[in-house]
Each structure stands twice: as C-alpha cells, then as structure tokens.
Amino acid sequence: MNKFWIILAHTYMTRLKTKSFYISTAIILLFIVGMANFQTIVDTFSGEDKNQIAVIDESGELFEALQANVSSTNDDIELVAVEESEENVKEDVQDDVYQALMVLEINEEQLPEATYYSNNITESSTLTVLEQQLQQVKVALATTAAGIDQETITDIYSPVTFQKIALDESAKTDEELSQARGIVYVMLFVLYIAVLMYGTMIATDVATEKSSRVMEILVSSASPVTHMFAKISGIALLGLTQIILFVVVGYSVIQAKQEELTGGIFEYFGLQDTSLSVYIYGVIFFLLGYLLYATLAAMLGSLVSRVEDVNQLITPMTLLVVAAFLLAMFGLNMPESTIVTVTSFIPFFTPMLMFLRVGMLDIAFWEVAISLGLLIGTIIILALIGARVYKGGVLMYGRSSSLKDMKKAIELTKKEK
C-alpha cells in the first residue's frame, strides 16, 4: 500500500475511534434532531398554557372590540372579562391565577385608556400586542366619532402596493434571493465550523506527533510532504464522514417532518429548492476553503513543540476565519458593497465571500474564475511553503512558538553553498 494511504487510513481510524469524536458527533446530531423538532418542542411547552389576562371594563363597551382584535391576531393571549373588584383581581394576579390585570376606561374625550397591572413587566410581547390592539380600537372609535365610515378607514390602513422588479434580466428575483440567502447562510456556517474544528484537529494532531517525538520516525519512513497531505486528507475524510452523517440524519428527520415544517424555518433558509449551480459552487468553495486553511493549520502545527502551544499559534488563523465570517454576515444584507467585492478576491476570504456573491448576485464568470485561480494559486504556494516549513519544523524543538520559527524552519531545510 502506498504510504500516503497508510498515513491517511491511520489518521482517519485513530481519530474515528476516539471518545471525543463520538461525543461531539452525538451532540451535533442531537442538535439537528432538536432543530427539526423545534416547532413541536415549542408547542409542547407553550401550547396549552395561554396567557390569561383579566380585564375589568369600566366603560362596558371596549372589551368586546378589544377581544375580537386580540383573538384574531394572537393565539397565545386570552382576555377574560371579570366583574370582581380591582383589589381582588390584583391578588389573583399575585397568586398567578391570571397573568395580568388590565383596567379599561373611557376618558372625557371619549377615548379609551388602559392600566396594566402585572407581577413584573418583562413580558413585553404581550404588552406590545395589547397596546397595539387597543390603539386600533381607539382609532376605530375616534374615526367613527369624527364621522368617517369603516370602509374609508380600511382603505387608509391597507398596505401600500410595493413591487420590486430587477431590470437586469438574469438578476435574482426576490424569492430566489431569499432562498440563496438561506443556502449561503448554511454554507457559511458549515465552512466556518469545519475550518475551525478540523483545522484545529490537524494542528493538534501534528503537534501531538511532534511532542511525542514519533514524528522523527514517521518522516524517516515517509516524506514530510506526503505525511502532511495524508494528514490533511485523513482529517478531511473524517469531516466528510461526520458531515454525511449529519446530512443523512438531517434529511431523514426533515422528510419525516415534512408537513409540519413546510413554511417553517426551512423555507426561510431556502433549502427547499435552490438551483444546482449554487450547490456545485458551494462544494467547490467548501473544498478549496478547507484545503487552504487545513494547509495553513498543518504548517502552524508543525512549528510548535508542545500541544499546549497549538492554540496560541493558530490564533491568527482563527482570526482570519472569524473576519471572513463576519464580513460574510455583513455581506448577506449588502452583497454589492465594495468591501464585499474587494475581499471576495482575497484568497483567505474567497471561499466565504465569493460564494456569497455567486449565490446572491449575478456574477460574471471571469470574476469567479479569477478568484478561484487566486485561491488555488495561494493553496499551491502555501502547500510549497508549508512543506518546507513542515520538513524543518518537525525536527525543530524549542521553547518558543512564534511565527519567527517559520523562518528558522525554512532555513533548516535550505541548502547553503
């Protein structure tokens, strides 16, 4: 068997057999199942338990209008008319019989007024709803008093017709755009987490082999370059295993819950139907992005002599990923801004930002080609430097673990004449 495959298989198998791998996979799977059942879970907790609000209507004419308004807009709030004295009901509120008490009056100007009593006033969503609905009741009363008929009011309050039409023929429609936003969003998250998780894994693996000094034996039987790429591929395979598992579980859960979920969060994420090209670009950018950061991580990992120093050294890499992620998050709402356009050509940001542009905008193919070229070029350069650093780095043991060591590592492999 080729040495590349031996190292790859070893990396894959040893990682696969660790407890931490099982645990993290299990946690994420649980999370996925949880997300898919989110609606059910929320319903279980809040379904039966409506917020009962006691209403003392001193005017005698406001309650019905308000209750009609509230029940038509909100399922969770139930208004109950009570005849008891204010003091009694306040006590009931304190004993949690009702969530709150609202006293309705009509003032001298013939307009409604309300006072809201509750144990605390943190439940702001209920408050907002009540306030809004009362406002409408007030508007209805005031306009009737002013002699304007109901139809006119409906006309006044109906929303304005506002259509968005892109003149560019190939530009995405509003609907497409929100779907694209969803898939871009998902991809950004996956790439972000994958790079951080697997990048750290690679760096730690390399550093572990170095600190246990097994590295010297390894590089005496297989070349450091082979070793480095076998390691990167091994971890990539592991990641793939994990992601496939997530996708399979996620997909089957979604299938099982399809009816319930239609129109739910999955529609927002645009996962239902997105054009194939976006998926293909997604895979390409994901793989290249992973390769770029994995190479960087392997190189950095080869520089430290102790596993404890790994985190310190990969911090700059982590910051790059975070920066790319934040830029992309910003870009989701403003994909055409200059900063997104410019940074999408910077190789370390390309996987996230160019994908974002491809997904959300109509980008000329040459732009994508240039950024891909730059990205692949950077990966190759980084791999060449990485291999040099790796070759020297794995033999270098010292206290310090700074980027200065990179120069030292390259020097170590240099032939001087």
Partner: protein, 299 residues
Amino acid sequence: MTLMLRNVTKKFGPNLAVDRLSLEIPESEMFGFLGGNGAGKTTTFRMILGLLDRTDGEISWNGEKINYDKSHLIGYLPEERGLYPKLKVRDQLVYLGKLRGMEKQDILTEIEYWLDRFKVPEYMNKRVEELSKGNQQKIQFISAVIHKPKLLILDEPFSGLDPINVEMLKEAVVDLKNQGTSIVFSSHRMEHVEELCEHLCILHKGKQVVQGSLRDIKRSFGKKNLIVHADMPLEFLQDITGVVRFKKISEGCELQIENEDVSQKVFSSLQNKGFVRKFDLEEPSLNDIFIEKVGAAYE
C-alpha cells in the same frame, strides 16, 4: 551494501555542525560514533536518512542516493524516543511497520517474535504510556528493526536501560549484524562501542578527530596504561621521563606512559624498592583516547 560519506558538511546559519566528515561503513559492520553532546552525531544521522539536506559533500549507499524509496531497507532509532503514547503496542508497530513497506500479517509474526525475545509478550495490547521507560525503549527498538533493515541507525540505543536489558538489546544488535545488517550507532558509553564495534570515529564539534578500526586506533595512539600494585610509596614514578599521567589508587597507582619502552624504565626503577604485587601493561581504553583527543580539542 556500503555506506559512504564523503566530505559531508552541514551548516546551520554561521554554525558549522558537521565539518567535512568522510567515512565508509561496509556491509555486516558495526560502526561506532562517539562524541560529546552537540558533536554532530544526530545531525549526521539525519543527513544520512535524508531528513536534513547537507550543505556540501556526498552520501551514498551502495553507490546510490538514499531516498524514501529505500526506506524499507533502513531502520532508525532516534535519540529522543518517540511513540504514540495513547496507541497500543500492537497498533503502533503495525502502523510503523506498514510505513516501512511490510504486510500486516508479517508484522504481527515479527511483533510476537520480538516481544517474546525481549520477554514482554504481555505488552502486545497495552498502551505505550502504561509501559516503563525501559520497556518503551524495547518497543522503540522493535519498531526500528521489525522490517529487517539492511542499514540500521541507532542513536544512543542503550541509554536508560538496566544492565540486563542492555545485554538483551546488545545481543539483538549483534544478531542483526551477523545477518548482514550494517549498523551505525552512537553512544557516549565507551565500553559499548569498544565491545561492539570494529570501526569507529570520534566527533568533536563536527570535526572527525579520530577514525579507523578499533585496533589501529589503539595502536596508533601509542600511549599505554601501566598498573602497579605495591606496598611502598610510588610517587617517585611520576618523575620518570615518559610518564604522562600518574594516578594514585588504593592498591598502588595507574600510570599512563608514552610508549612501551617507558614500562622498562619503570620496571627497573621499582627494583629493590619493595614488594610489587602486580605490574600490568595495558592497551589504552577508548575512554583514555576519547578524553585525550576531545580534551585536546577543547584546549
């Protein structure tokens, strides 16, 4: 299968780590590398293995360059012991054996053979971190020889072992040599080199200060040791010309003399002085040679 080094030089920046080292190690030979700390032994080994590029000079094995295509013929025991602490002995050796081009089945047969030979068959399924340092060393040694290399490089193979284990490993090394393996090994334990090696070289600060067969080196060194056990005071012996060093011991004294002839003068001057229980002319030990050569280079 001769290993040849010609004018091999390695510079780390301005530092000369190995300076024009030339040597030749024939098949079935054991070659000793002696040198203090930082003498350039490990650097030389790494250059032989191709882990480091040399600055100048040539290294060839059987007339060919050493590269990764030949790694299944080469065994290496690094100075800093390195194994995966969390991995079981069996998995560990299978992995390293595969990397040396072996098939799994052969590796398992070999592991059993070696663990039995080192009297530790129960370690097969233990994790390396559970073993004592000396036993880890045995596993490390197995990993270096499991694929029956034709060239074996041992960097300080016996350090950290008790005398029984040292004997066990020594026997294994000698067996390998008799089976046709060329062995290069380094040590700062002179007696191991003296016992095992036909040829050796002493490195000091990257320079080769002594090189050749053990017998030639001792002969050409010239100086001999003379041991005298007697009851009377012997201090007067140090005044005899040709006595280089005088060391009083409880039984008498140890002298280092410039050549054999001096022993005659010492012998005659002892006559009529008193009762001499022992008068012994010895070959210089490697230790003496090392101290002399490396010590001189220090001055």
